[in-house]
């Protein structure tokens, strides 16, 4: 009888505790404004983080995603899209959140490891099955008659990485001669029949609409296209040289504070560096930054010569001003 009574009391206590926990749990909604090809990555990551956060705090987190060309997304946030976090394609676009909106502190990049880039990627080629145009390196891409698909660097972060990778290749093979590098990328963009505003749009153009001989693509996007979007129809070609893309992440302090989401937004980004998240990153064909995950997925990624933007172009601010600002090199070489 005593045991029964004790069991009842304990059960009541547990139920009461559970009820209190449920009653005190709150629902939190975050908005993650990201660039085009991260859709699948963040679908997986959001589920993992929500589970983690609920276990840790009892709160239920729902993460809404917004995707588009990285530059376009940055402008949307500056214009009032109230993102709690921004996970964009390149540091320059995140810088604009400080420069033009004062939405984040100037030293935002120091707040997380690896300059706030929890994953990296690079640019590769996606060609038709069997590589009928025999495209192996950047020199092949600029040949007359080759149809190249790449998005608009004015709106897409991936497109800027594409452009800079080609430019870096041209510099290397022309003794750092800027004029020849300009001529090289000029030839490349003469081969571009259509400019999408974002990387996912270009993938659609190449894979689904069947346009072009080669797609200049994010590595993760190329893997995704090869295995899922265009399985059996396309294959990846790795150029001899490409660029190390470091997509950064940041809490958008002003909006996160306004929503009362500062703590959860910060945790959301910090958890990207966890073992679980780094594994998700690898599974989604992004290059993990943690040693363990990098080693685990080492065989997945081709080994190639990767240059850094700081080394070749003097950093994003300089590269943006020289190449992508109005009247910059891209405007000079691209003929509509």
């Amino acid at each position: 009888m005593k045991k029964t009574l004790l069991s009842i009391v304990l059960a009541a206590a547990v139920l009461n505790f559970a009820a209190v926990t449920v009653a005190s749990a709150k629902e939190v909604t975050l908005l993650n404004v990201s660039y085009d090809p991260t859709r699948e990555l963040y679908v997986d990551y959001n589920a993992a983080f929500s589970k983690y956060w609920q276990t840790k705090t009892g709160d239920i987190v729902k993460v809404n995603q917004s995707h588009g060309g990285s530059g376009k997304q940055a402008r949307a946030v500056i214009d009032g899209l109230q993102a709690d976090v921004a996970t964009l394609a390149l540091a320059y676009d995140v810088d604009q959140l400080y420069e033009k909106g004062k939405l984040i502190p100037q030293d935002w990049q120091k707040r997380l490891q690896h300059n706030s880039s929890p994953y990296t990627s690079t640019i590769v080629f996606l060609v038709r099955k069997g590589n009928p145009k025999n495209i192996k390196d950047w020199d092949d891409v600029v040949k007359p008659g080759i149809s190249v698909i790449t998005p608009n660097p004015k709106t897409s972060g991936g497109a800027r990485w594409n452009y800079l990778a080609a430019y870096a290749y041209a510099l290397k093979h022309n003794n750092n001669d800027d004029a020849k590098a300009k001529e090289f990328v000029g030839k490349l963009y003469k081969n571009v029949p259509v400019l999408d505003s974002g990387a996912r749009g270009s993938t659609t153009t190449f894979v689904e609409r069947g346009i072009g001989d080669v797609l200049l693509a994010w590595e993760n996007e190329a893997f995704l296209a090869q295995k899922e979007l265009g399985a059996g129809k396309v294959e990846i070609v790795v150029p001899s040289l490409s660029i190390l893309a470091e997509p950064p992440v940041t809490v958008v302090d002003k909006f996160a504070k306004k929503h009362g989401n500062e703590a959860v937004a910060k945790a959301y980004l910090e958890y990207l560096y966890s073992d679980e998240a780094q594994d998700i990153i690898g599974k989604n064909y992004y290059r993990p930054t943690s040693e363990a995950a990098a080693k685990k997925y080492e065989s997945q990624f081709p080994k190639l010569n990767l240059v850094k933007i700081d080394d070749v172009f003097g950093g994003w601010t300089k590269a943006q001003k020289t190449h992508f600002s109005d009247g910059g090199v891209f405007d000079q070489i691209y003929q509509k």
């Binding site: 259509v194 999408d196 505003s197 153009t205 609409r209 346009i211």
Partner: protein
């Protein structure tokens, strides 16, 4: 873009492409060349299709972000793509030609003041922010020739209206207090060129304050409760700060109980409004009104110098309208009970006014409280004649007999009160008839004739003499007659 596919198919199937295939079927080089040509054309078609697809995406995105410009019969305006911010530019222009005879019943022929008059010149900005918060800003550049006008321009309306719920809305700023029925009718939708004594002489015109208001019972019951700085009868408060210690409180309830039915009383509305305030004027700032004649150019009653408001001012106004087909009727009564003092003498005076006005649209349009929409705008080429409306009104404004001093046959004041009966009428009674021609919803021509007769107040120039002009035998002022015409543009 499908046409490009058709072109390719046609080329393949037509003699242009098919003939060489048949003619040189064994020539593999030619076949390869043709295959390449078809592939090239196929790519070009796909590129054109994709460019069109992207252009449509860009256009769809741009449409979501592009402000919308509206130009309609209701005015000009623009709004943000998400509809959160709206601006409407409106205006009201009234060009009058006014003819007076015996202005104010004081014998003047009125020629010196007859002529053209810009009664209302109002560029109006209205808008809505975040769907629920309306605002209105209306300056006035007209009104130079109305009696007691202190300036020729000013701010008529400047307020914000927060529509939290249909039944709970809050308005604050300078606006028409929710009191008078005819006063709440827009200046561009009046049946007569000038409003009645009820609106112009008794009830407040505009005031500074805040009010809650809303519609209940599916819009059949409208209520409002407001607090205002307080204005004299017929007054239009300036935007200056309040000059007395108390506020004026106003309540109004108005119902249209049958409005959704289709019977004879569907267009019936009636209600009751009241105000209360407690004001203490001075001999130099009396806080008391003057009462204008129907022509708005002269006063028929003015309190004597040194008389001032000294206590409560309460107003009560039952009001109603009725519309059935082309027929319209508005009836309104207002009484103001005002505490006044003159030296050691104090009293509570009850002045009142009422009007009944009927309208009939000869061209058959439905009459309503909110203007007339001609079924056929005036257009000589298409044969439309606009809307024609006949209007008639009777109105009175009566002064409390306790306001007047009395005296001897020789005109000597024996009992000092608050107004001299020799030069202030005890009442004004006016009948009017007119015609309105609505050329379209925005342009109107109007013609009104109004005759005002007075009780007393006709011996001001003969005071102190025996016979005519004495207190015993105070003559009535001769009647005032006015003929007004108006060209109005409102949008």
């Amino acid at each position: 873009m499908m046409q490009y596919k058709k072109i390719v198919s046609a080329l393949v199937l037509s003699g242009l492409v098919a003939s060489p295939i048949i003619a040189f079927a064994n020539d593999s080089a030619e076949l390869e060349e043709l295959r390449g040509l078809v592939q090239e054309l196929n790519q070009k078609v796909k590129i054109l299709e994709r460019k069109d697809e992207i252009a449509q995406e860009i256009a769809a995105t741009a449409k979501k972000e592009t402000p919308v410009v509206n130009t309609t019969k209701d005015g000009f305006g623009f709004q943000s793509a998400d509809g959160n911010f709206k601006i409407k530019l409106r205006g009201l222009l009234q060009v009058d030609e006014r003819n007076y005879s015996n202005v104010g019943g004081l014998g003047a022929d009125g020629k010196n003041i007859s002529g053209f008059d810009l009664r209302r010149i109002r560029p109006i900005v209205e808008g809505t922010v975040y769907d629920k918060y309306d605002f209105r800003f209306a300056p006035e550049f007209g009104e130079a020739k109305t009696a007691n006008a202190t300036s020729t321009s000013g701010i008529v309306d400047a307020y914000v209206d927060a529509r939290f719920q249909p039944w709970f809305q809050v308005r604050a700023g300078k606006f028409k207090p929710y009191v008078g029925l005819e006063r709440l009718q827009s200046g561009g939708e009046l049946k007569f060129i000038e409003r009645s004594y009820v609106s112009n002489n008794i009830l407040p015109n505009r005031d500074l304050g805040a009010a809650i208001h809303g519609d209940l019972l599916d819009g059949k019951l409208n209520y409002s409760a407001g607090i205002y700085n307080g204005v004299v009868d017929g007054g239009d408060n300036s935007t200056a700060q309040d000059t007395n210690q108390d506020k004026e409180y106003a309540l109004r309830i108005f119902t249209t109980p049958f409005k959704d039915s289709d019977n004879l009383v569907a267009g019936l509305g009636f209600g009751l409004a009241a105000t209360h305030g407690n004001f203490k004027g001075t001999t130099t700032a009396s806080g008391l009104p003057n009462y204008k004649t129907a022509g708005q150019e002269s006063n028929f009653f003015t309190y004597s110098s040194g008389v001032f408001g000294n206590g409560n001012r309460d107003r009560l106004s039952p009001q109603a309208y009725y519309y059935y087909g082309p027929f319209g009727l508005i009836a309104e009564y207002a009484r103001v009970s005002q505490d006044v003092s003159n030296g050691a003498l104090s009293n509570r005076l009850d002045n009142d006014a009422w009007q009944i006005a009927a309208s009939y649209l000869l061209t058959g349009e439905d009459a309503s409280f909110k203007g007339v929409k001609p079924s056929q705008p005036f257009d000589t080429e298409k044969g439309g004649w606009g809307a024609w409306e006949l209007v008639a009104r009777y109105q009175e404004n009566d002064i409390d007999s306790g306001a007047f001093s009395s005296g001897t046959a020789a005109g000597v004041v024996t009992t000092t009160r608050y107004a001299d009966p020799r030069n202030n009428a005890r009442s004004a009674k006016s009948w009017a008839a007119g015609v309105n021609w609505y050329l379209n919803q925005n342009v109107k021509l109007a013609l009104d004739y109004e005759n005002t007769s007075f009780n007393g107040g006709g011996n001001a120039n003969a005071a102190g003499t025996a016979g005519a002009g004495s207190f015993i035998d105070i003559a009535n002022r001769p009647s005032e007659r006015t003929l007004f015409t108006r060209l109005q543009l409102s949008y």
